[in-house]
Amino acid sequence: MAQTQKPTNLGYGELGRFVAGEAATCVKSIVGLTGACTAAEASTFANPGGATKLAANGFVLVNADTVASVQTTVTDDTVQVDHVFTASGAQSVTGFAIENDDDDVVYMVCCFAAALAMETSDTLTIEAKMQFKLGS
């Protein structure tokens, strides 16, 4: 399993609609993934990176602790998502996906370099960024 990260095609579409003032929702949710995970632009809500969305043990789809704009190159050019998962049981975690507020579009998928063997009460602290301004 190699580490990968990708924004998704459906996420680009959701962003376009959101900026155009059409039906779309902002970056909001996060979910843990398990199983073989390879981030791909073709990822969907049902199939994020070929992995399985977790529905137990503290890694379920929830609103992220914090979603805010921050500066990477120019003021507020980056969306930053911070979240802490706390395991409520033993669980292998291979990545995470960031979703919209409606929980129907994946904005980005990140797959870990190796599976994390979480035990009860372990924490997994995530910081994820999407930068819009590329280049200098």
């Binding site: 990477t72 190796a114 997994l124 994820a128 930068q131």
Partner: protein, 114 residues
């Protein structure tokens, strides 16, 4: 006139136990940018970047797996924190070889330097 497009994704993940003790930390690895010209030096620069990326990705995969497998054992902090990050192909080769050698990683010895 076209401009570069897309989003840059960066992330970090930190696995800790219930007492806050670090088990493993990961940061994103960005693959090399595609070559922007067909000149030999552009292609060689890209090949160098691709090789370094492959070696570092391999190292990170094995480092995190090693840290996770040894969560209850004492291992070198560098394998948990990822703070030693190979920046050159030579460093990446050394780091990979060292990680495969149980004695070297335990006693922090580089097998290529004795």
């Amino acid at each position: 006139m076209e401009s570069q497009s897309g989003l840059r994704i960066t992330w970090g993940a930190e696995h800790s136990d219930k007492n806050g003790v670090l088990i493993s930390r990961q940061i994103h690895l960005l693959p090399p940018e595609a070559p922007t010209c067909l000149r030999l030096n552009c292609l060689l620069w890209y090949l160098r970047g691709a090789l370094l990326y492959a070696l570092v990705a391999n190292y990170e995969e094995r480092r995190v797996a090693y840290a996770e497998e040894n969560r209850h054992k004492k291992i070198l902090d560098r394998y948990r924190t990822g703070e030693f990050f190979p920046k050159t192909i030579w460093q990446a080769i050394h780091a990979n070889i060292k990680l495969t050698c149980p004695v070297c990683r335990k006693y922090n010895v580089d097998p290529l330097r004795g």
